[in-house]
Amino acid sequence: MAEVGAQAHGTHHPALQHHFTSLEQQREASSLGMWVFIAQEVLFFGGLFAAYTVYRSMYPDAFSAGSHHLSWKVGFANTLVLIGSSLTMAMGVYSAAIGKKNRVVGFILATILLGSVFLSVKYFEYGEKIRPCFGDGAHTGCLVPGARFDASALHLEGPEAGHAQIFFSLYFGMTGLHALHMIIGVPILLVIAHAAWRGRYSPEYHTPVELVGLYWHFVDIVWIFLFPLLYLIGSH
């Protein structure tokens, strides 16, 4: 079947799949596919953003207190790290477009590194909220929603303590889903870096680099919304 295509179209690029008539058509299709996927992602996160909007308008005080408890400095540092990773990603795509193989590999590895820094910081942020929830006795400082949730650190009582649980449900839900997207992105970046190192990409064909770049930028943009909504709404 591939042979039939080859005869029909003469010699063609090894990356051209049999059901496309040209590399250009294949690139446009892949690119549109990624954009449709991103549209899907927007709606996927959209459910959580809708829930956030509803609950924040219902419980502004608890949200403010919960937000105040998050460290905006750590969040800001992580924002810079993530924007940096978007820069290296964009440089990687550019390098692929001009055919600089070693730079592509280098920039993608830098992107992976920055992404890992972000995830490590997130790990410690989560840890200080989750660790007090384990063990017997008092669970002072436990911020995981549920029976052991401790609202005293937020200076909240009564129903507002429950509302703060909703804030932290959203905090873990939204940042968790975001982190999951990064955790999925890193191995994909590794595969792309490997293929780049093997010399698979050229100025005519580097669609996979472009696509993973789109994905990575999308995940960064989600964080750009999450950071102010979660970290900056309390008065500091």
């Binding site: 079947m1 039939v4 295509g5 799949q17 049999h18 059901h19 008539t21 058509q25 446009e28 299709a29 892949s30 549109l32 596919g33 449709v36 996927f37 549209a39 899907q40 992602e41 709606l43 996927f44 996160f45 959209g46 459910g47 959580l48 809708a50 829930a51 509803v54 609950y55 219902m58 419980y59 608890a62 995981v144 929603p145 549920g146 029976a147 129903p159 429950g162 509302h163 649980q165 909703i166 449900s169 959203l170 873990f172 839900g173 889903l177």
Partner: protein
């Protein structure tokens, strides 16, 4: 038409291999369509068994046939299996998969491997959900309403929710594949307004799949998270709002109704013009009304929630929008009817299903307007009237279209003819059985019988017995096509390239098609449905 063929073509897609590996690793959209066809047929059988259990219980008013809990699990199983694992993938994943590349003159969908992946995702999601249903069951109803599903339900909610979450991505990937394929893979000369209406309908469907499904996916994931990690999204004790769940759920699940019905409407447009031997009336109106349904369909979800105590002004807006979304459906119905006018109508099996569809969809659609009306809905909410209404759409509409499509394109898929007289008899059985099952439910609902109760007052028994009798006939109506279509795969006469004398690129290639569909990519030079001129002979290399 060409002379009667004596045998199937020497080479076609089914001959690419008979072993398991050639099926499980295939990237041919036609084979993946058949994989889906087998999977959803199995799920349809399971969902029908659940329906049988429900109808069997309702034969007697006192609920003595089974416990209330078992009954709850039976109707939940019926809803979950039928909605998520049969109706939503039904036409798009089987016939859409098979036909869209053929109809637009492409060798395959844009992403063949993602297409195969979507089938595996479907199978994993279906297996998980079935495991949840069979080991302990699920009694939340297919709607998973909170706080019942998050706090009180003691069944396998988490596993079922995750199964449905996974299956959702199969639907998203199918929609994504169709959108890109329709945009980028059309044959030369095939402009947007030369596309078959089946393709337009699937384009609109795909938009809903891509934009709606992720919302229900995250919502149902939140239910699972709330049960596993005790998050408080929908927990009233902590200030969470259970009604928010309903908003998010129906934001997808109302458009999901259009995922089920739009592809059927596409099928009806193809068949009605072919068997009237006449160009379809109002082509561009039918095409655009599909998009209008997809767009307006996203704005009507709260009509499922009039009795939740929502603000009266928002209820009025949603009611008005609900009336608005009926307009494009009415446009289609008028256009199909106008196509019949002065056509040379032929009563073959696919066409009988078209007549079934138009009549039943009309009743289903009009009763939908009763329910969209604020005052009437308060009386009818959660009664059998609602059950009857949506079965007229989903069974009377979606499944009639699905059966019509299966019969219409069966010769293309298998290369063989089914026995026409059997087709006619079973379509009659389906029509009679369907109406006997569901028309009494309109009356029951109007008289006040609530849905989802396993016992009911004695005066409702006659109507319930009628309904169960109808369901039995309907069951046989579905068994027949299964038998004679299967029979035709082995014994049917070779059908030839274009047994109906139909227009459209899929009929210009051989039956069954080659693995790469066309020897040469066709060039389109004529308007769609040009039934005034004779059908083209197949272009053979």
């Amino acid at each position: 038409m060409s002379s009667e063929p004596r045998s199937l073509p020497a080479d076609h897609y089914l001959k690419a291999g008979w072993d398991l590996k050639s099926w499980l690793l295939t990237t041919d959209h036609k084979r993946i369509g058949l994989l889906y066809l087998m999977s959803i047929t199995l799920m349809f059988a399971i969902g029908s068994l659940y329906a049988g259990i429900v109808r069997w219980n309702l034969l007697v008013p006192d609920g003595s046939q089974m416990s209330a809990e078992a009954y709850n699990k039976a109707f939940t199983g019926h809803g979950v299996v039928m909605v998520f694992f049969f109706l939503i993938p039904s036409i798009p994943a089987t016939l859409g998969n098979f036909l869209i590349p053929l109809m637009i003159g492409a060798k395959d969908l844009a992403f063949p491997r993602i297409n195969l992946l979507s089938w595996y995702i479907y199978v994993i999601g279906a297996a998980l959900t079935m495991w949840a249903l069979l080991s302990g069951g699920l009694e939340t109803g297919w709607t998973f309403y909170t706080p019942y599903s998050t706090v009180f339900a003691e069944s396998n909610v988490e596993v079922a929710a995750i199964g449905i979450f996974i299956a959702g991505f199969s639907s998203i990937l199918t929609g994504l594949n169709f959108i890109v394929t329709i945009h980028k893979m059309r044959a030369p000369g095939l402009t947007w307004f030369r596309l078959p209406l089946f393709v337009w309908a699937h384009y609109a469907t795909s938009i809903i799949q891509v934009l709606g499904t992720p919302v229900v996916a995250i919502t149902i994931l939140l239910v699972a998270l709330e049960r596993i990690f005790h998050f408080g999204f929908f927990d009233p004790n902590r200030g969470g709002d259970p009604i928010l769940f309903q908003h998010l759920f129906w934001f997808y699940s109302h458009p999901a109704v259009y995922i089920m019905i739009l592809p059927s409407m596409g099928v009806i447009s193809e068949i009605v013009t072919c068997f009237s031997r006449k160009r379809i009336f109002g082509y561009s109106f039918i095409a655009m009304s599909s998009l209008a349904i997809a767009a307006i369909g996203f704005l009507v979800w709260a009509h499922h929630m009039y009795v939740t105590g929502m603000a009266v002004y928002s209820a009025m807006v949603f009611s008005a929008l609900t009336y608005l979304v009926a307009v494009p459906s009415a446009i289609k119905t008028f256009n199909w009817t106008a196509t019949l006018f002065r056509g040379s109508v032929k009563w073959d099996t696919p066409m009988i299903y078209v007549f079934c569809f138009i009549g039943l969809f009309l009743i289903g659609g009009l009763t939908g307007l009763f329910l969209g009306n604020l005052g009437v809905d308060v009386h009818l909410t959660d009664t059998y009237f609602v059950v009857a209404h949506f079965h007229y759409i989903m069974v009377g509409g979606a499944i009639m279209g699905y059966l019509g499509a299966l019969h219409f394109w069966w010769p293309k898929i298998t290369g063989r003819k089914y026995i026409e007289s059997w087709g006619k008899v079973s379509s009659l059985l389906v029509f009679v059985g369907f109406n006997l099952t569901f028309f009494p439910q309109f009356v029951l609902g109007y008289l006040g019988m609530p849905r989802r109760y396993h016992a009911y007052p004695e005066e409702f028994q006659i109507l319930n017995v009628l309904s169960t009798a109808g369901a039995t006939i309907l069951g046989f109506g579905y068994l027949f096509p299964f038998s004679y279509l299967t029979h035709s795969i082995f014994r049917g006469e070779p059908a030839g390239d274009n047994p109906w004398g139909a227009k459209g690129l899929e009929w210009t290639t051989q039956s069954p098609p080659l693995t790469h569909n066309f020897d040469e990519i066709p060039v389109v030079t004529e308007e769609p449905y040009d039934y005034a001129s004779p059908p083209k002979e197949a272009a053979r290399g």
